[in-house]
């Protein structure tokens, strides 16, 4: 396949949290708002002259200082964020919108205050209390929390317009990004997809980490380019898989999977597009903020949601993705030391294979996985097992006439 025109540019944008577009937006008077969790509704951070930056710590090296502060036993993502913050990598932020959704990220965020990490007098840090299930009173609570901890804070500290009109404008822009990403993502359902999992991962990450308005032109062009892109005649993969799991902002992980013979057709992980890049449908007769909040609660696939219905929905959703994207199997990945995904990975991978008949593999990984030979071997073994299953299935079908 021909290289995507903007791919190199996108890859470069992911080399630094304070990337070229972030710097440009800041220079134009934009307010940079950092966040790390799906429970902070991304679209709210794009009101008025604000723009959201989902925090990553690309090119992470040593995490010695973060390890001193947070021990060896916390996940690499939370420690990498702290390490990068201590290094001054997030000095461009105007605020960090956090939520006590997992203990580890919560503690990482608290260090921004404890160690006074961002040298900006107006910098603020808030923590949102997010519910664990969806019922009328929990939605009400979530709406109240987002109003108090996000919108009111932005208005009070930076004078940001958070009116319904401003929210609707942010939704409109957000929806355009989602439409484009869905359009591009749908190519992954093709028999021989015209886009690789790695390319999609890069595009998707860019939409999380760059100001929306500045990334849209290149994204539109990429969508247009893909309309006529021809896939290679000979398929380069031996099996299609859905990746499900915890926080993942490392495209090299997807690259490693694809170098090992699989093609990632759906990204159901934290920082992925499923969920994350679905349009927010607003009914003009209902409260805007409530509808936005409800969208995030309903689409969230975080294992933190503990009600029976949500647990069941998570499994059904993965099966739905397997069917829609014609995947051969599911790979559950867990960032090492992630408490939520430690349990979810074990039980869900068991349930998917026993109750749903979908082949699964479960792996844990470090925050930066590009050099992991062990992981490569696991993926290769999984691909081989999927191939064997395919052959057995075909043979059985032949025998049954």
């Amino acid at each position: 396949m021909r290289d995507l025109k903007h791919l190199y540019e996108f890859e470069n944008l992911l080399q630094d949290a304070n990337n070229e577009l972030v710097r440009k937006a800041k220079a134009d008077g934009g307010i940079a708002l950092g966040y790390t969790c799906y429970h902070i509704p991304e679209v709210l951070l794009n009101c008025g002259n604000c723009f959201s930056v989902r925090l990553r710590a690309p090119r992470t090296g040593s995490m010695d200082i973060a390890t001193y502060y947070m021990s060896n036993f916390l996940c690499g993502y939370s420690k990498a964020i702290l390490e990068r913050a201590i290094e001054g990598g997030y000095n461009f932020l105007n605020a960090l919108l956090a939520s006590e959704t997992c203990s580890e990220m919560n503690r990482a965020a608290e260090h921004f205050e404890l160690l006074d990490l961002v040298p900006n007098d107006k910098f603020f840090l808030t923590f949102l209390d997010a519910p664990f299930k969806i019922e009328n009173h929990t939605v009400k609570h979530y709406v109240k929390q987002t109003r108090l901890k996000i919108l009111d804070m932005l208005t009070n500290v930076y004078g940001v317009d958070t009116s319904d009109a401003a929210l609707l404008k942010a939704v409109e822009e957000h929806n355009e990004v989602c439409r484009l990403m869905t359009e591009i993502g749908n190519y992954r359902k093709e028999d021989n997809p015209r886009i690789t999992g790695y390319e999609y991962h890069i595009l998707n990450l860019v939409t999380y980490c760059c100001p929306k308005a500045l990334i849209l032109p290149a994204l539109r062009e990429t969508a247009e380019e893909l309309k006529t892109r021809e896939p290679d005649e000979k398929k380069k993969y031996r099996a299609k898989i859905v990746v499900v799991g915890s926080e993942m902002d490392d495209p090299d992980f997807t690259s490693l999977i694809e170098d090992s013979g699989a093609l990632v057709v759906a990204d159901r992980f934290c920082f992925g597009a499923l969920p994350g890049r679905q349009e927010i449908v607003i009914n003009p007769d209902e409260d805007v903020l409530t509808q936005i909040c409800l969208h995030y609660l309903k689409t969230s696939q975080c294992p933190r949601f503990m009600s029976h219905a949500k647990v069941q929905e998570r499994r059904d959703y993965v099966k739905q993705l397997v069917d829609e994207y014609h995947a051969d199997g599911v790979m559950y990945e867990q960032l090492k030391f992630c408490e939520y995904w430690g349990y979810e990975r074990a039980l869900a991978s068991y349930v998917m294979s026993t109750d749903y008949g979908v082949p699964t593999a479960a792996v844990d990984r470090q925050y930066t996985a590009s050099a992991s030979g062990q992981l490569r071997t696991r993926v290769q073994a999984f691909v081989e097992s999927l191939e064997i299953k395919k052959i057995q299935k075909e043979r059985q079908a032949k025998e049954n006439g």
Binding site: M70, L74, S103, E104, R107, D129, F132, H141, A346, Y350
Partner: protein
């Protein structure tokens, strides 16, 4: 005292000689423990024996007298009596729970009526809210199979942890929810109840093991959620709504109506218990503490969660203890042989070594005058106004065991520690490094930084909560020994206790 221990198992060669009066009292209490256990068996002999054969964890309870002995070593006078009274109340209540569980267990007694009257709860939900359903029995699901048994017998948890790890859950998660999930995978929970109340307390691991319990139990489950950022008033409406939803769920599932009068009665009992509790704390702030060590927090968390004002026997014990304590305080009676250091214990203690504080006292003269688990909610309840009572209850639940300090922001655990150190005039902090507790691990460096600024003896003690294979009791002691010998350069109070082997002990 170390000479009393048998090699490897640390079982006593013979009972400790404490002078005639105290030895006789201690022996009498040992007999009372056996009596209570035998009474439990006699109440339902067939069910109990079947339960003993069916469930691996049940055998651990046969070692209860030894468990109590570990916590009374070296105690004399009022302190000995206070600790025995507390433990005996725990035994009395726990035997009742075992009795009810086995009678209602459908694996032992199929189709029994009692089972339908039982509401299963996650053990971490305090009992007050259920006091409004006097016709129902509430069984905290995990308490008997794993939480309590792991304190009595350090050998009981590893098999359950291995089951969970074999299933694919990583070994680095907190071993408490992991072991609870293991019991579910092994199908070692008694089968009973008409519904289950799960909760998001205390932490991420407990949230996640509820999916394992849910799959095993196959009962209607209600998720009772308690806000995390609890210091703010902005979460209180949600917290109260959650309690109302919980009551509604139980009413719907059982057909029972919430009885406000009984509920208020239980809250009044809890208030009274709290008064007694705070008197204990006040005395421990003085140079003459009367109750130090593990019985303090063990009894506190037990009644806080499992009585919830319902069982008035706890109140009677508190009254008796209060009398003994005040009398001893007036006499300025020493709580132990020699109090060299006043210590505060912080973070979650190891279930497999609850008597660690007792060893600190006997070996190094380090008396634990306050600890994190004891300092859970001490808010009083309104007992007349329904809405206010629920609001108070909601705030209490936000400050429950392993929750109050680990959630809601670092100030609740870091700043709170220094407040306690100052209030209790402590010179030493025993800081448990529960290696799998993400909430506490995430503040390790901050604790170190701030301890240095305050110049207190800050002793990290690594432990793995439920898993003695990772860090044994002996390893825990060794960390203190090293600090005392190299940093403080002190001589032990009892050199025979400095190093002994107890890996094979219960």
């Amino acid at each position: 005292m170390g000479k009393l221990y048998k090699e490897h198992t640390a079982l006593l060669k013979h009972r400790e000689w404490r002078g005639f009066k105290d030895t006789m009292y201690d022996y009498y209490r040992w007999l009372v423990t056996w009596k209570d256990m035998i009474v439990m068996v006699l109440k339902a002999p067939v069910s109990t024996v079947k339960g003993l054969w069916k469930y691996r964890w049940m055998a651990s309870y046969l070692t209860t007298p030894s468990f109590i002995d570990r916590h009374t070593m070296g105690l004399r006078g009022a302190h000995l009596r206070i600790v025995h009274l507390h433990f005996n109340m725990i035994v009395k209540h726990a035997t009742g729970l075992i009795n009810t569980s086995f009678k209602a267990d459908e694996k032992i007694n199929p189709n029994n009526k009692l089972s339908k009257k039982i509401v299963l709860t996650d053990e971490i939900i305090p009992n007050e809210v259920f006091s409004g359903f006097p016709n129902l029995k509430v069984i905290p699901l995990q308490t008997l199979p794993i939480f309590l048994s792991s304190m009595v017998d350090q050998q009981i948890t590893p098999p359950y942890l291995e089951v969970t790890e074999s299933f694919g859950v990583p070994a680095d998660v907190c071993p408490l929810p992991s072991a609870e999930a293991g019991v579910a995978i092994e199908d070692d929970y008694p089968q009973m109840g008409c519904c289950m109340i799960a909760t998001n307390m205390p932490c991420d691991g407990s949230i996640m093991n509820s999916t394992f319990l849910d799959r095993r139990l196959n009962l209607p489950v209600h998720c009772f959620n308690v806000p995390l950022r609890y210091n703010g008033e902005d979460v209180q409406e949600y917290a109260v709504d959650e309690i109302k939803e919980l009551i509604k769920f139980v009413e719907e599932q059982t057909g029972e109506k919430f009885d406000w009068d009984v509920f208020f009665g239980a809250l009044r009992n809890t208030n009274k218990q709290l008064e007694y509790e705070i008197e204990k704390w006040d005395i421990n702030k003085t140079p003459y503490p009367q109750m130090t060590g593990a019985a303090f927090w063990l009894y506190r968390i037990y009644y806080f969660n499992l009585s919830g004002g319902v069982d008035e026997r706890f109140l009677k014990v508190d009254k008796k203890v209060n009398k003994l304590m005040l009398k001893a305080y007036e006499k300025k009676a020493p709580v132990s042989k020699e109090m060299r250091h006043r210590a505060v214990v912080w973070s979650c203690p190891a279930n497999y070594y609850t008597s660690f504080a007792n060893w600190l006292e006997n070996c190094w003269g380090m008396n634990v005058v306050m600890d994190m688990e004891t300092m859970i909610s001490y808010l009083k309840f309104n007992t007349e106004d329904k809405e206010q009572a629920l609001a108070d209850l909601a705030k209490t639940y936000q400050r429950s065991i392993m929750r109050k300090h680990t959630k809601g922001g670092y100030k609740n655990v870091v700043d709170e520690l220094w407040r306690i150190v100052e209030e209790y005039n402590a010179d030493t902090v025993i800081m448990y490094d529960q290696i799998s507790c993400k909430g506490m691990d995430g503040l390790a460096g901050i604790f170190d930084d701030q301890a240095r600024e305050r110049n207190v003896n800050f002793i990290w003690v690594k432990q793995d909560l439920m898993d003695p294979r990772t860090i044994s009791r002996r390893d825990m002691r060794e960390q203190v020994n090293k600090y005392m010998q190299t940093v403080l350069q002190e001589e032990p109070l009892d050199p025979s206790l400095v190093d002994f082997e107890d890996d094979l002990a219960w």
